[in-house]
């Protein structure tokens, strides 16, 4: 008959310590499912207390297994891991410079570029919430080694997102017919890219969830190769070639993700019970809303710029190449700064474990103060470095004459000023999510979206379209301030929130 692990230190993977008393041992036995009936039927004791009393003397004599020293935290690998999401973007930029096209986008007429851009932005906004929720549940199941449930949960959210995208496409088609925003064939082009890219974001989201950053880059590279093959070798038109390549890259990403999940699930059995859907929804809706609003925030300044002063344009939306170039320069800084988020979050968890282990339960104030000091230190270290990165990129861009005009210079300056605040806000949000304070994160991003829309809309309508970027910067500052305020409030009672998050 199999004995509970708490009675066998050699089965405990090095985390076993001798029980404090009989009550402690009885609690451990009950936590492993040893009820009085099980104690009677399987182990031959009258009840759990009797079993604990019998085993306690034997276990007291057993020394604790030697704990392994925690591996030293490697700063640069963590930082590079945080930046690795930018690798596909880097591949796309190289492809654009060399081939004049990428997995999506390229040397297209303005109207077609507008349709592709609109479809791309819509795909981000529609899938953002689903990817966030899928990752939240998936990481939980992965962390608790429930790989089968992880698989089923992920597949459920993939289907839900795909259906939502299809419904949106149908709805948009009807609305577009009614209002006539995008004439044929631009409407179908936009919606095709929306659906295909949505599938691609889902597939790569799964790979990110599984920490397979390199595989994301591999799928991106293979997708770009497919576009090259179809367009250059087989003479397929660029847009259909890109759509086919995106679907191809998505299939590859799905297959790779499935292979990784299956490999991890080998030999691990898990319980096949799912919670009710409405309970899941009530737990997950803040994450869903955050994911959607986050991407809406990221792209709303572009939409405002594209829709401003289009009276003389051929469409109500007008793709602004100069604005995109300036935004891209800001994005470079974002990639370099965002690596710090991963590093700082890892440091937070390391610090909180160390502090928790070293401080008495009656000295919670010290614990909270230490962590608050840690938070302030991280913020103090980050901002100067981030501003230095932004200034460096701006200066390099000027020296290399990247800015074709004053407009690009102006927009790039505003974007570079805003991204440090965005990154700081993202770090705060990752902490808030880790401490299960999702509503605070949602408040922060919602406030940021409002600030972005109001400021960007008024500025771009009363001034030039390039002033839409001021909305982004203003929104990023609001995001950082609101998320930071919530973080500080949380850290003041970190002992409570850390415990609540663990339950």
């Amino acid at each position: 008959m199999s004995h509970p692990k708490c009675l066998h230190p050699e089965l405990s993977d090095g985390i076993w310590s001798p029980p404090l008393d009989v009550a402690d041992l009885a609690t451990r036995l009950e936590a492993e499912g040893v009820t009085p009936a099980v104690a009677r039927a399987k182990h031959g004791f009258a009840d759990v207390w009797a079993m604990a009393e019998a085993w306690f003397p034997k276990l007291q004599a057993v020394p604790s297994p030697r704990k392994k020293d925690p591996a030293p935290q490697r700063k640069w690998p963590e930082y590079l891991r945080g930046m690795s999401f930018g690798l596909p973007l880097l591949l796309s930029c190289v492809a654009m410079l060399w081939l004049h096209f990428s997995l999506w986008g390229g040397n297209l007429p303005t109207e077609t570029a507008t349709a592709v851009g609109a479809g791309s932005i819509t795909s981000f906004v529609l899938t953002g919430g689903f990817v966030q929720v899928m990752a939240r549940r998936g990481l939980f199941y992965l962390g608790t080694k429930q790989f089968e449930r992880c698989w089923r949960s992920t597949w459920f959210w993939v289907r839900a997102c795909f259906l939502t995208n299809l419904c949106f496409v149908l709805l948009f088609t009807m609305v577009n017919l009614y209002f006539g925003w995008l004439p044929n064939p631009l409407g179908p082009v936009a919606m095709s890219f929306c659906v295909c890219l949505g599938v691609y974001w889902l597939a790569t989201g799964i790979l990110y969830m599984l920490d397979q950053y390199l595989l994301v880059s591999v799928s991106s590279l293979l997708g770009i190769s497919a576009v090259v093959a179809l367009h250059t070798a087989f003479g397929v038109e660029l847009l259909p070639a890109q759509l086919i390549a995106i679907l191809f890259a998505s299939c590859l990403a799905f297959l790779m993700a499935a292979a990784v999940l299956k490999k991890r699930a080998l030999g691990v059995r898990s319980v096949q019970i799912d919670g009710p859907v409405n309970r899941q929804f009530s737990m997950l809706w803040p994450y869903f809303a955050y994911g959607t609003l986050y991407y809406f925030f990221l792209f709303s300044d572009r939409l405002l710029a594209w829709t401003a002063h289009t009276n003389t344009a051929s469409l109500v939306l007008a793709f602004r190449g100069e604005y995109e170039l300036a935004s891209f320069i800001g994005l470079l800084a974002f990639i370099l700064q965002a690596g710090w988020v991963h590093l700082a979050t890892a440091r937070f968890y390391k610090n909180v474990r160390l502090n928790q282990a070293s401080i008495n339960v009656y000295d919670r104030g010290t614990f909270n103060r230490n962590m608050l000091r840690f938070y302030a230190w991280q913020a103090g270290v980050f901002f100067p470095a981030a501003l230095l990165v932004s200034v460096s990129i701006y200066t390099c861009a000027r020296m290399l004459h990247v800015f074709p005009g004053e407009l690009v210079d102006h927009v790039a300056a505003w974007a570079l000023a805003g991204y440090p605040f965005l990154v700081f806000g993202l770090w705060n949000v990752s902490l808030l999510f880790g401490l299960s304070r999702s509503s605070c994160a949602l408040q922060a991003i919602a406030s940021a979206c409002c600030a972005n829309l109001v400021t960007g809309y008024l500025a771009s309508r009363l001034g030039g379209y390039e002033l839409a970027v001021s909305g982004f910067t203003c929104g990023a500052i609001v995001f950082a301030v609101v998320a930071g305020r919530h973080c500080v409030e949380t850290f003041r009672r970190l002992d409570y929130y850390y415990l609540a998050a663990a339950i």
Partner: protein, 495 residues
């Protein structure tokens, strides 16, 4: 068919913006207010809200679609708050309360869908036949009022052109000419998805029917009897038939003024805020003449009077019979009078308006330039470019355009030149007395060119001369449209 669907869209948008959503938001919870009084109250308050808000935003050049939509949503939320349908309270029970409301709403929708097969058509209206006759009368009035708009794109009065341009400019965040009807129609344009000139074209008949409904509402408020409403609506509906030569411009403004005046009378004693709002709107609508209102207002007061006098002296069955006969006879008169009106003039040929519409639909936005008189501008604004015919003929000379290497200096792909073969004025507009002018005291060259017979004729002649000279040495000119009155030339400029 396209006109019918556009008309339906305008009616639907008008009803949703001014009736459906405000009633849903403003229906007082638990209070003893009938749906009729709620509709009148929220209609008037919403109208006043839009007049004030859109005027203010327009002055700041911020009457843009998202801002108008946002202010409308705020208005609906405000109505919900004041009517008790929405409460602001911070409590931990917000999420469960929201879920309960969502669940009960879903259950209601489900019940409605399930009950549809079990409802017979006539059970839907468990009323006497009188409302049915009233609906038929209103349908006949709508057909009669909308006949011109359904068959013509151009406006019968200059007021239509100026309001259409004003609405274009308002929605584009440009300087606009303040006008009450323009502020009221701004949200209708947004929801209908139609162009401002289309909305202006169809909203005049909508307001005409609203005047009939307003007369009926006023009579119902003071008599409470449906048969008097039928009589009042019938008389108000046929009144304009007697004034065959009514000035269309004066009518449109006067109709709107009359509608709000009658609704003010309907709101008196029920909602002073709504009544004051209606009077204020009527006052600022500033019609040039109240003559078109005399008959509808008179029929309303007449119906109230007979309602008060004969309600007890005659049996109700006879009341209803008389009312039904009135509705039927007036409905027949209205349907017999359905006429589309003159197809051309007094400012523009119908074919010119249709040509502009065809160009807007068939060519990419802002890739073409129309050279014509001012009256085509509302039909192409924000879709293409416009150049005044007077400017065009002033700047080009036949000997220049006749050169083989000549190219028109416009950065567009298509140029459309409207040349009137028979100038619009003065042959058609024989009664356009308001266009008599003292040439010796008029310094505006556009006025002389467009309004005076000789000016219009010489303009057309010069334009035709330029076209003939260009055509001799260039092969990129084709005829886009031609009839006895008008020719539209098409020149392909950039490839």
């Amino acid at each position: 068919m396209a006109s019918m669907s556009d008309f339906a869209r305008v009616i639907l948008a008008f009803i949703i913006v001014y009736v459906v959503l405000p009633v849903a938001a403003g229906r007082r919870k638990g209070a003893d207010e009938s749906l009729f009084h709620t509709t009148v109250r929220v209609f008037l308050l919403t109208s006043a809200f839009f007049v004030c808000t859109v005027s203010g935003l327009g002055r700041l050049r911020l009457a843009l679609p998202p801002i108008i939509i946002l202010t409308y949503v705020v208005w609906l939320l405000g109505l919900s708050l004041t009517s008790g349908r929405l409460t602001l309270h911070r409590s931990g029970d917000l999420q469960p309360a929201f879920r309960l409301r969502l669940a009960s709403f879903a259950a209601k929708i489900r019940l409605m869908i399930l009950s549809v097969p079990h409802v017979r058509l006539f059970d839907l209206i468990r009323l006497s036949p009188l409302p049915g006759y009233l609906v038929l009368l209103l349908f006949a009035a709508t057909c009669q009022r909308a006949a011109f708009a359904l068959g013509n794109l151009h406006f019968p009065a200059v007021d239509g052109y100026s309001r259409a341009m004003s609405l274009h400019l308002l929605n584009a965040g440009e300087l606009w000419q303040p006008n009450v009807s323009v502020t009221l129609l701004s949200p209708v344009v947004l929801l209908s998805g139609l162009t401002p000139e289309t909305v202006i074209r169809f909203v005049d008949p909508v307001f005409s029917v609203c005047l009939i409904l307003a007369v009926g509402a006023c009579v119902f408020r003071w008599t409470g009897r449906l048969w008097t409403v039928c009589i009042a609506c019938s008389l108000a509906a046929v009144a304009p038939l007697a004034a065959a030569n009514a000035d269309a411009a004066a009518s449109a403004q006067a109709v709107m003024c009359g509608t709000y005046l009658m609704l003010a009378f309907a709101a008196i004693g029920r909602s002073s805020a709504a009544a004051l709002a209606a009077v204020a709107i009527a006052a600022v609508s500033n019609p040039s003449s109240f003559q078109p209102l005399a008959a509808p207002l008179g029929s309303g007061f007449f119906a109230v009077a007979i309602g008060k006098v004969f309600s007890t002296q005659v049996r109700s069955g006879l009341h209803n019979f008389i009312a039904a006969c009135c509705c039927v006879m007036c409905g027949v008169l209205l349907l017999a009078d359905v006429r589309q009106g003159p197809n051309d003039g007094p400012f523009q040929y119908e074919s010119a308006a249709r040509a502009c519409d065809a160009i807007s639909r068939n060519f990419s936005r802002n890739s073409w330039l129309v050279v014509s008189t001012t009256y085509e501008l509302p039909f192409i604004y924000q879709r293409g470019w416009h150049l005044e015919l007077l400017d065009f003929v002033s700047k080009q000379r036949p000997e220049d355009v006749a050169r083989p290497d000549f190219r028109f200096p416009y950065q567009v792909r298509h140029l459309f030149l409207f040349v009137e073969r028979r100038p619009v004025l003065p042959q058609i507009c024989l009664n356009c007395w308001q266009w008599s002018l003292n040439v010796a005291q008029t310094f505006d060259p556009a006025l002389l060119a467009y309004v005076s017979p000789r000016g219009r004729g010489s303009l057309s002649f010069n334009a035709a001369e330029l076209v003939a000279a260009y055509q001799r040495t260039h092969d990129d000119l084709t005829v886009f449209y031609s009839d006895d009155n008008l020719t539209v030339y098409h020149v392909r400029l950039l490839t």
